[in-house]
C-alpha cells in the first residue's frame, strides 16, 4: 500500500515528518545537500549565536591589535584587510547558498540569551531566504537574585522582539527547565510562536581527570532521551490545539521513534545525533523504517497517526558557560573535510557522492 508521509509544520508543507535539526552537517552546503538527498523533509541550520557574533568581533579585534605600535620595525602584524566577513555575514551567506540549492524548506536558527541589537539578524535571516526561523532560547538560571517569573518574562520579551522583526514562521526551541512548562509554552505561543521544538539538549561540562580541567564535552543523544519530549508533546498537544506546530527533538534515532513522536502529537520529528553518528544516509533508513511500520499496520497517512496517543512531565539543567557549549558543537567536524586516509579522525562514515 502507499503511505502518505506528508505533514505540515509551521505552515510549511513537508513531504515527510523527518527533519534534520541543527547540526554542523546542515551548516555546510555540501553536506546539507547530502542530508537533503537522503530525504530530510526540511533542514534546520545550526544556530547563529548572539555571543558568537560579539565574541568573534572582540577576539578578532584583540588579536589584530595585539603588538601593534610597540616596535619601530613592526607597527602591526597582519595585512590591512578591507572586508571582514563576520560570524553573522558568514551565516547569512551559508543560509543563502543552502536556500538556493535546497528543494525542501530551510529553517534558520538563532540562539540568544537576551533581547538586543542583534535581533535585527532575525530580519536579515528572513531576507536571506529562510523559510522559517527557529529561536533557540538558552540560559542557565544561575543568578540567585532572579526569580522564575523574571526569567520567563525576559524570554517572552525576546520572543516578542523576534516575532516583531520577521513575518516568516517562527518556532521556539525550548529547554525543559521551566518551572511551569505548560504555562510558559502557552505564553510563547500567544507571544507569536507558530510552533515549539522540544527540547534543546544542553552540552554539560565534564571534568578531565588527567588534567583536572573542566572541559566541554559533546555526547550524542541516546534513544531514552526521547521520552521527555514525548511526554510533553503528549501534554501540550491537547492544550495548544491543532494549529500549533510541535516538533520532537532529542533522542530520535529510528523509524519507530518517529512513529512514537507522531502518535503523541508531533508534526515533525528532528534528528541530529543519529545523523552525526551514521551519516546523512540514515535519514533514508529511518524513513524506510517508518514507511514499513505504517504499511505493516495499515496506516495510510501521517495525518491518521498523529496525536493518536497523548499525555504529560520534565528533567535536566546546564551548568557551564556558553562558550563551551559552542565549542562542543564545533568539535564535530563537517564530514566533507574527512579524507579516506586521514589518520587524524575516526573513520565513522564517508560521504558517498
Amino acid at each position: 500500500m502507499t503511505v502518505d508521509l506528508s505533514t505540515r509544520y509551521l505552515g510549511l508543507q513537508l513531504r515527510s515528518p523527518i527533519v534534520a535539526s541543527a547540526s554542523p552537517l546542515n551548516g555546510d552546503p555540501v553536506t546539507a545537500k547530502l542530508v537533503e538527498r537522503a530525504g530530510a523533509a526540511a533542514i534546520v541550520l545550526p544556530s547563529l549565536f548572539e555571543e558568537e557574533i560579539l565574541a568573534e568581533e572582540i577576539e578578532l579585534n584583540r588579536a589584530l591589535e595585539q603588538g601593534t605600535e610597540h616596535f619601530a620595525e613592526a607597527l602591526d602584524y597582519f595585512p590591512a584587510v578591507d572586508a571582514f566577513v563576520g560570524a553573522a555575514e558568514r551565516y547569512l551567506d551559508g543560509l543563502e547558498r543552502i536556500t538556493a540549492q535546497s528543494t525542501v524548506p530551510v529553517i534558520a536558527s538563532l540562539n540568544a540569551t537576551s533581547a538586543g541589537g542583534w535581533v535585527r539578524y532575525a530580519r536579515l535571516i528572513q531576507d536571506a531566504g529562510a523559510d522559517a526561523l527557529e529561536l533557540n532560547l538558552y540560559h542557565v538560571a544561575a543568578d540567585p537574585r532572579r526569580t522564575a517569573g523574571e526569567m520567563d518574562a525576559a524570554d517572552l520579551e525576546l520572543i516578542a522582539a523576534v516575532r516583531a522583526s520577521v513575518t516568516i514562521p517562527l518556532a521556539i526551541k525550548l529547554s525543559p527547565y521551566y518551572s511551569a512548562f505548560a504555562n510558559f509554552s502557552r505564553a510563547a505561543v500567544e507571544g507569536g510562536a507558530d510552533g515549539l521544538v522540544l527540547f534543546n539538549r544542553f552540552y554539560q561540562p565534564d571534568v578531565d581527570l588527567d588534567t583536572l580541567d573542566v572541559v566541554p564535552r559533546l555526547e550524542l543523544s541516546q534513544p531514552w532521551e526521547m521520552r521527555l519530549p514525548l511526554r510533553w508533546i503528549a501534554i501540550l498537544r491537547p492544550q495548544l490545539g491543532p494549529d500549533v506546530s510541535l516538533a520532537v527533538s532529542s533522542g530520535v534515532h529510528t523509524g519507530t521513534d518517529v512513529v512514537k513522536g507522531l502518535m503523541v502529537g508531533a508534526n515533525v520529528v528532528m534528528m541530529t545525533s543519529a545523523l552525526l553518528r551514521h551519516g546523512p544516509k540514515h535519514v533514508a533508513t529511518v524513513e524506510a523504517e517508518l514507511r514499513a511500520w505504517m504499511a505493516d499496520r495499515e496506516y495510510e497517512s501521517v495525518e491518521q497517526l498523529r496525536g493518536s496517543a497523548s499525555q504529560a512531565t520534565a528533567a535536566d539543567p546546564s551548568a557551564f558557560e556558553r562558550a563551551n557549549y559552542m565549542q562542543a558543537l564545533r568539535s564535530w567536524i563537517a564530514p566533507r573535510e574527512l579524507t579516506p586516509t586521514s589518520p587524524s579522525r575516526p573513520a565513522k562514515w564517508r560521504p558517498e557522492n
Binding site: 591589535e65 595585539q66 605600535e69 616596535f71 620595525e73 595585512p79 590591512a80
Partner: protein
C-alpha cells in the same frame, strides 16, 4: 580642479603612485621600507587596479637580490616594474642595478633611506645606502618631505620612461617614511598626464619578444666594451632636463613648483648651506629666522642628486656667496669628504674655470656630516654652521648634533636658538606604552584634524627598542601653516603622560614649555595625586606653572570593556584641553573616525569605543598646583654596584640621555660588554607568578618555558640557606640522584613581563582548589617588595655543580644557569626559551652566529644585552653579521676554530718536550664528549697556561702563540641561530652550503613561520592557509620541508622540535645536535605574536600544533650502523584535526573572515598536507640508511647517543 588633502606617511605617499603606475612589483621586507610593499600587497589583494585597469602582480621574493633579478626580468619583457627597499636591501640589488641601467631600462626603486650596518646595525635613517648605489648610473631623486615623496614618486616614474635611465627615488627612513603629514594628493588624471602613453608604448617596443627577437646582455671584449659604455652618454646627459620638464608639468597641474635645486634665503647671502633630504625643513626654518634677524644667509636644497646638477647649483646660488657648507647624511671614512661635498667642490672648480666665472672668488666650501642613524637635526645644530662659515678659518670638515671629544670635528649646539613657532600652532607630546593604544589614537588625531579642518597636521612617533613593555613617544604638531619642522617637538604646549609609572622614569615635563597643559592618566584623583608625584615632577609643574589635569583612564577603559587600551579615553581629553576643536565637534569627529576604522571589525568594538569616549570628559579633573614635597623617592637608573661601563654609559642610554654621550664614551669597534639587561629593572609586569612550594612537583616546566629567564630554579644543600631572610621559600628536592637538597623557584619581579606562560604550563594543581597551581599569576603590587628581597637572596645561593644532575631531563637542564636573560622579547615569545636552553646546556663553551631578525634585536639591541656570563666569566660569545649570510658567518667561525685548534695542537706537539708528556699528552689525547671530560681539559689548559708563562729560550715564540690559542684546546661549539626568513629564504643558499660542508656546526632555526621582526611577512616557512603580510589572501602553497632538504644529505643531524609539546625531546635534540660531530639542524616551532594568539597560551599552541600533526616531532640521527634507522618519529599520531588547531590562531581564522571560500579550500589542503606528511614520516621512521664511511675506529666520529653529562636517556637504555 579641487585638490584633496590627506594625512599620509611618506611610505604610503610614495607607494600609492608606484602601485598605480606599475604592472609587476617584486617585493621583500626591510625596515623602514616594508610598509610600501605591504600597502601594495594589500591593494593587490583587494583587487585595486593600476592606471591601466590591471591589478599589479605583487610577488614576494627570497631576498632583495631576488627582487632585483625579478624586476630586471620583468622590465626586459616590457612590464612596468617597481620595488621598494632600504639599506642592505639596496646593496643586494646593486649588481642588477648596473645591468638595468646599462641596458637603459626605465624603472624606479623607492628607497626609505637607512643606515647601512657597520660597527652596529641600525634601522634608522641616513643616506649611506643610497650613496653606495651612486656608481650604478641610476638617476637619484631626493624627497625631503611627505608631499615631495608623493610628488617625486610620480616625477621619477614619468622621467624614467622619458629618459630611459632608471631612478632611485629616496627619502629619509622614519623621518619621512613614517612621518604623517597633511599633503595634497595627486589624482589619477595627474598620473595619466605625466605618464605619457607614447613613452609606455616605446618602452614596450623595446621588450623581448620572439616576434622580433634581439640579444641583450652579451659578453664584450676590450675592443668594444668601452665605446659601448660611452654610447649611453646622451641619455644620462638628458636626464636633468627631462626631470625639470616633468617637474614643470607637475607644477602646471598642481601649482607645486620644484627645481632640480632650489635656493632659499637672502638674495645677497654670503653664507649658504647645501643640503638634501628631510633636513631641508629644519635648515629652512633656521635660514628664515636668521634672515629675519638681518643675516645674509641662505640654503640650497638639492633634489636631483644624480646626474649631479652642477650647473644648476652654481646658477642658483647668489653671486655674493663667499662660503658654503655642504651637509652629508652619510660617512665615508678615508674619503676627502662625503659625496655631496665632493660633487659641490668639483662643480665650483669646473664653474670657476669657465670664461666667465660665476663668482668673483671661488667660494670656500666646507663639509659636514649630520643625522647618521636618524640623529636629530634641529635649528640649534644648524645655526652654528652659519657661525662657522663666518669664521676666518672654519673647520674644513665638521660634524653636527654630537659632541666629538676625540677628533674634535663637532660644532657646538646652540640650545638657546629656537625659531619662533607660527601663531596658532599647537605642539603636543604624548608618552605611552605600546600596549595602551596611544600611538594609534594620535595617528587618528592627526587624521581627524588634518582631514576635517583647515589646520595642517604632523605626527611622528618614537618607539624604544623593546618588544614588550615598550615606551612610545608621539610628537604632534597642528597649525595654520604647512609644517616643515623635520625634528622632534622640543617645547610642547600640551604634554600627556598616558602611564603614571613613566613619571620619574622618563623625562616628561622637561618637554613642556612654560604654562603648558599637562594631562596625566592617574589612578589617583585630583585631591590625591600630588603626593604620589616624584619631587622632580612637582618641581617642574610649579616652575613651569603647568595647567595640570588628571583622569583615571584605565578605570574608564575597563568600564567600557576596553581593557588596558586607554586610547579612546585619552583622546577626547586631549581635544578638550588642547582646544583645537570645539568639544562637541571633537567628540563627533572622534566617533566618526572610530566608526570608519572599526566598521570592518563589527559593532561591538564600535560600541565599546563609544562608551569610552562618552565617559571620558566627565572624569577629567583639574589639579591645583601645590608645594614641592619630595615625598616619592627616586630610584637610581642602575644599582650602585653596577660595573663601570654600565654606570657611565649604559645607564645614560637607559635614561634616554644617549644623545648627550660624547664620542669618547663609545667603543671604537662596536664591542660591548655582556649581560647588561640585569641592570635594567623595567618593572613592567602588572601580574607576576607567585610560587606555592606546597604544591610544586619539581618538574621545572615553568623555568623551561620562561621567555625571559625570569623564573629560576635552584637546588642547593640545606646549609646554603642558613642565612636566608625570613619567609624565603624552599621545599624538599625530590630526586633519586641528589639527596638532602632543597629547591626554590624564584621570580625576578622587576624583570618579569607578566606573560603568564609559566602558569599555563604548570601541571601541579591544588587538591582542594583546582585552579590554584604551584605557580599563579597575582597582582605585583603587594608582592613586589617581598619578591625583590627573595630574588636578591636567591641570587646569592651558589649554582649547583653542573655534574650533579643529568642534563637530559627538564629538571636537570633547568637547574643550569641561563646565560641569556631578561631580553626585551615579546611577552610569551616562543623563540627565546630555546635560546635560553642552549645557553644553559652549552653556554660557557659556545660561540654564536646570529642572523639579523628578532633574535638579533632582542639579543643585542642597545641599551642592554641579554647574553651574559657565569661566575667564572665564561659565556656565549655572540655576533651578528647580516640577515643573508648567517650560516656562512657561523661556518667561518668553525673554520677559524678548527684552524686554531689544529695550530694549538701542533704547537703543543712541538713544545711537548718542554712541557712534559703528562701535560702535553693529556691535552692532545683528551676525549671531550662529556662535561666532566671538558672540565678536566679546562684544568689541563689552566696548567698549560701556567707552564707556558714560565717557558723561556728558543721555544718562547711558540709558547706565546700557544698561550694565545690555549683556550681552543677545549671543545667549543658553534651555534648558528636565526629565524625562518633567514633559513628558508634569504639565507637558504648559504645554509645549504654549510649543511653540505660536513663541518661541525649547530644550526638552530627559530621557526615562527613569518618574518616576525619586520611585522609578520610571509616566508617559505609560512604554512598553507595562513594570512600574513605579503600573503594577505592566505598563503596558497605549502610550507617548505626544510628538514627534508637537510636530511637528504644523509650526514646531517636534523631534529624538529616544539618545546610546548615535548620539552624533553627538545632538550635531547639540542644535546644530540651538540654531540654530533658534523652539521646539525634543529628546527624549533616558535609561537609568535604574529600568529594572533593569546601569548600566555604560547606553549599550549605549540602542543596543539603537534597534536594535530601540523608540526610532527622527529630526530634524524645519521647512523653508520648497517641497519640503522636514523629517523625517529617522536610525536604520536595526530589526535585532533588541523582545523581544531588552526581555529585558535588568528593567522588562519582571519582568512575565514576575509576570503571564506578560499579559506575552506586551503583548510582542506592544509589537512591533506598534514596527512601526507604524516604518512611520509611514518614510512621514514622505518627506513634503514647508513652514512657512507670508512671503517676507522675513531671514537670522535661515532654517533654519540649519550647526553652531554654522560647519562643515557631512560627511553634509550634498552634500545627502545
Amino acid at each position: 580642479m579641487d585638490r584633496r588633502y590627506e594625512c599620509l606617511d611618506g611610505n604610503e605617499a610614495a607607494a600609492r603612485v608606484a602601485f598605480a603606475v606599475s604592472e609587476v612589483i617584486p617585493i621583500y621586507p626591510i625596515t623602514p621600507a616594508s610598509p610600501m610593499a605591504e600597502h601594495c600587497d594589500d591593494w593587490a589583494a583587494a583587487q585595486r587596479p593600476n592606471l591601466w585597469g590591471k591589478v599589479p602582480d605583487v610577488v614576494e621574493m627570497q631576498s632583495e637580490a631576488g627582487v632585483a633579478g625579478a624586476l630586471h626580468g620583468a622590465l626586459q619583457k616590457g612590464a612596468l616594474g617597481t620595488t621598494f627597499t632600504s639599506s642592505q636591501g639596496l646593496l643586494l640589488m646593486v649588481p642588477n642595478m648596473f645591468k638595468i641601467c646599462g641596458e637603459l631600462t626605465p624603472t624606479v626603486i623607492h628607497v626609505a633611506a637607512r643606515t647601512v650596518a657597520t660597527h652596529a646595525l641600525s634601522i634608522f635613517g641616513d643616506h649611506s645606502d643610497v650613496m653606495h648605489a651612486r656608481t650604478t648610473g641610476w638617476a637619484m631623486l631626493a624627497a625631503g618631505s611627505v608631499q615631495e615623496a608623493h610628488d617625486f614618486a610620480l616625477v621619477a616614474h614619468a622621467a624614467t620612461l622619458r629618459a630611459r635611465v632608471p631612478f632611485v627615488h629616496f627619502f629619509d627612513g622614519f623621518r619621512t617614511s613614517h612621518e604623517i603629514n597633511k599633503i595634497l594628493v595627486l589624482e589619477e588624471d595627474d598620473l595619466r598626464a605625466l605618464i605619457r602613453d607614447d613613452d609606455v608604448v616605446a618602452f614596450r617596443g623595446r621588450a623581448m619578444t620572439p616576434d622580433a627577437p634581439v640579444v641583450r646582455g652579451t659578453a664584450q671584449n676590450p675592443d668594444v666594451f668601452f665605446q659601448a659604455r660611452e654610447a649611453s652618454n646622451p641619455f644620462h646627459l638628458a636626464v636633468a632636463g627631462i626631470v625639470q620638464q616633468v617637474m614643470d608639468e607637475l607644477a602646471a597641474r598642481t601649482g607645486r613648483q620644484y627645481g632640480l635645486v632650489d635656493y632659499h634665503g637672502a638674495p645677497d647671502a654670503d653664507r649658504v648651506v647645501i643640503v638634501m633630504g628631510s633636513a631641508n625643513g629644519a635648515v629652512e626654518e633656521t635660514v628664515d629666522t636668521l634672515v629675519a634677524e638681518g643675516e645674509r644667509v641662505g640654503m640650497l636644497r638639492v633634489r636631483l642628486f644624480q646626474p649631479f646638477p652642477a650647473d644648476q647649483i652654481v646658477a642658483a646660488l647668489p653671486s655674493t656667496v663667499r662660503a658654503v657648507a655642504v651637509l652629508d647624511r652619510t660617512k665615508e671614512p678615508g674619503a676627502v669628504g662625503e659625496p655631496l661635498y665632493l660633487e659641490v667642490v668639483a662643480a665650483f672648480a669646473e664653474a670657476m674655470d669657465r670664461e666667465e666665472p660665476p663668482f668673483a672668488a671661488v667660494p670656500r666650501v666646507i663639509g659636514g656630516r649630520y643625522g647618521l642613524s636618524s640623529k636629530e637635526m634641529t635649528p640649534s645644530m644648524i645655526k652654528p654652521i652659519f657661525e662657522e662659515l663666518a669664521a676666518t678659518r672654519p673647520k674644513r670638515h665638521f660634524t653636527i648634533g654630537i659632541y666629538d671629544d676625540v677628533t674634535h670635528l663637532s660644532l657646538p649646539i646652540d640650545t638657546e636658538f629656537r625659531p619662533p613657532r607660527p601663531v596658532g600652532e599647537v605642539q603636543a607630546i604624548f608618552f605611552g606604552l605600546g600596549s595602551d593604544g596611544t600611538v594609534g589614537a594620535n595617528k587618528a588625531s592627526v587624521k581627524i584634524i588634518g582631514e576635517s579642518t583647515d589646520l595642517f597636521a604632523q605626527g611622528y612617533f618614537v618607539y624604544d627598542s623593546k618588544k614588550s613593555g615598550s615606551v612610545t613617544v608621539s610628537h604632534l604638531r597642528f597649525g595654520p601653516e604647512p609644517i616643515r619642522s623635520t625634528y622632534l617637538v622640543e617645547a610642547a604646549d600640551f604634554v600627556a603622560c598616558h602611564q603614571f609609572g613613566l613619571l620619574g622614569k622618563t623625562k616628561v615635563l622637561e618637554y613642556a614649555k612654560h604654562g603648558a597643559t599637562f594631562l596625566l592618566n592617574s589612578p589617583f584623583g585630583p585631591d590625591d595625586v600630588w603626593k604620589h608625584l616624584p619631587g622632580g615632577v612637582q618641581q617642574l609643574l610649579v616652575d613651569k606653572a603647568i595647567d595640570f589635569w588628571v583622569i583615571d583612564a584605565l578605570a574608564v577603559a575597563d568600564e567600557a570593556g576596553m581593557g588596558s587600551r586607554i586610547n579612546t579615553v585619552m583622546q577626547p581629553c586631549f581635544f578638550q584641553l588642547a582646544g583645537i576643536l570645539p568639544a562637541d565637534e571633537a567628540i563627533t569627529r572622534i566617533k566618526g573616525f572610530v566608526e570608519t576604522t572599526y566598521a570592518k571589525r563589527g559593532e561591538a568594538i564600535i560600541a565599546r569605543n563609544f562608551a569610552a569616549i562618552d565617559r571620558s570628559l566627565e572624569r577629567l579633573a583639574h589639579v591645583p598646583l601645590r608645594g614641592v614635597t619630595n615625598s616619592v623617592p627616586t630610584t637610581p637608573p642602575v644599582p650602585d654596584d653596577a660595573p663601570d661601563f654600565v654606570a657611565r654609559i649604559t645607564s645614560r642610554l637607559m635614561a634616554g640621555e644617549g644623545d648627550q654621550l660624547p664620542v669618547s664614551a663609545l667603543p671604537v669597534d662596536g664591542t660591548f660588554p655582556m649581560g647588561t639587561t640585569k641592570y635594567e629593572k623595567r618593572a613592567i609586569a602588572q601580574m607576576i607568578p607567585i610560587w606555592d612550594p606546597a604544591i610544586c612537583i619539581d618538574c621545572g616546566k615553568c623555568v623551561m618555558v620562561c621567555p625571559h629567564a625570569t623564573i629560576r630554579m635552584k637546588v642547593f644543600p640545606t646549609s646554603a640557606i642558613d642565612a636566608a631572610p625570613a619567609g624565603f621559600l624552599h621545599k624538599e628536592f625530590r630526586s633519586r640522584e641528589l639527596l638532602d637538597h632543597r629547591l626554590t623557584i624564584q621570580v625576578a619581579p622587576d624583570d618579569c613581563t607578566g606573560c603568564g606562560v609559566c602558569v599555563d604550563v604548570c601541571p601541579a594543581k591544588s587538591k582542594t582548589e583546582v585552579r590554584h597551581k604551584a605557580i599563579n599569576m597575582e597582582p605585583v603590587a603587594p608582592h613586589r617588595d617581598v619578591e625583590r628581597g627573595r630574588w636578591d637572596f636567591f641570587q646569592s645561593i651558589p649554582m649547583l655543580d653542573r655534574s650533579l644532575l643529568p642534563h637530559d631531563s627538564v629538571k636537570g637542564s633547568q637547574v643550569l644557569e641561563p646565560l641569556f636573560e631578561f631580553s626585551g622579547a615579546c611577552g610569551g615569545c616562543g623563540e627565546t626559551p630555546y635560546i635560553r636552553l642552549v645557553s644553559q646546556l652549552f653556554g660557557d663553551r659556545i660561540i654564536v652566529a646570529n642572523a639579523t631578525g628578532c633574535s638579533s634585536i632582542y639579543g643585542a639591541n642597545l641599551p642592554t644585552t641579554p647574553w651574559t656570563v657565569n661566575a667564572a666569566g665564561r659565556g656565549p660569545a655572540w655576533s651578528n653579521s647580516l640577515f643573508e649570510d648567517n650560516a656562512e658567518f657561523g661556518l667561518g667561525m668553525r673554520l677559524a676554530l678548527d684552524a686554531q685548534t689544529d695550530h694549538a695542537r701542533r704547537l703543543l706537539e712541538r713544545l711537548a718536550p718542554a712541557l712534559g708528556d703528562e701535560l702535553a699528552g693529556g691535552l692532545l689525547g683528551a676525549v671531550q664528549d662529556t662535561e666532566p671530560e671538558i672540565a678536566l681539559q679546562r684544568e689541563r689548559v689552566r696548567r698549560l697556561r701556567e707552564a707556558l708563562a714560565h717557558l723561556e729560550g728558543p721555544s718562547s715564540s711558540d709558547a706565546r702563540h700557544l698561550l694565545a690559542l690555549a683556550g681552543d684546546l677545549v671543545r667549543q661549539g658553534v651555534w648558528i641561530i636565526g629565524g625562518d626568513g633567514w633559513a628558508y629564504d634569504i639565507g637558504f643558499g648559504g645554509l645549504d652550503q654549510v649543511l653540505s660542508s660536513g663541518r661541525n656546526v649547530n644550526i638552530l632555526v627559530l621557526d615562527t613561520e613569518v618574518y616576525s621582526n619586520t611585522g609578520g611577512q610571509a616566508s617559505k616557512a609560512t604554512p598553507r592557509g595562513a594570512v600574513a603580510k605579503f600573503a594577505a589572501a592566505g598563503k596558497g602553497t605549502a610550507k617548505k620541508d626544510l628538514g627534508a632538504i637537510a636530511r637528504a644529505y644523509g650526514n646531517v643531524y636534523v631534529a624538529q622540535v616544539s618545546m610546548g609539546a615535548n620539552d624533553l625531546q627538545t632538550t635531547k635534540a639540542l644535546l644530540e645536535a651538540d654531540a654530533w660531530p658534523g652539521p646539525s639542524l634543529v628546527i624549533a616551532y616558535s609561537s609568535c605574536i604574529a600568529h594572533g594568539i593569546d601569548m600566555s597560551k604560547s606553549m599550549t599552541h605549540q602542543k596543539d600544533a603537534v597534536k594535530s600533526g601540523y608540526w610532527p616531532l622527529y630526530r634524524f640521527q645519521p647512523s653508520e650502523i648497517e641497519d640503522g634507522r636514523p629517523f625517529r618519529l617522536d610525536s604520536p599520531a595526530p589526535s585532533i584535526p588541523i582545523a581544531d588547531f588552526v581555529a585558535t590562531e588568528t593567522r588562519f581564522a582571519v582568512l575565514q573572515r576575509t576570503h571564506p571560500e578560499r579559506a575552506v579550500e586551503l583548510a582542506a589542503l592544509a589537512q591533506a598536507d598534514a596527512d601526507e606528511r604524516w604518512r611520509y614520516y611514518e614510512q621514514l621512521a622505518n627506513i634503514e640508511r647508513t652514512v657512507p664511511h670508512v671503517h676507522r675506529p675513531d671514537p670522535a666520529i661515532l654517533p654519540d647517543v649519550e647526553s652531554d653529562a654522560g647519562y643515557r636517556y631512560d627511553s634509550e637504555q634498552d634500545g627502545a
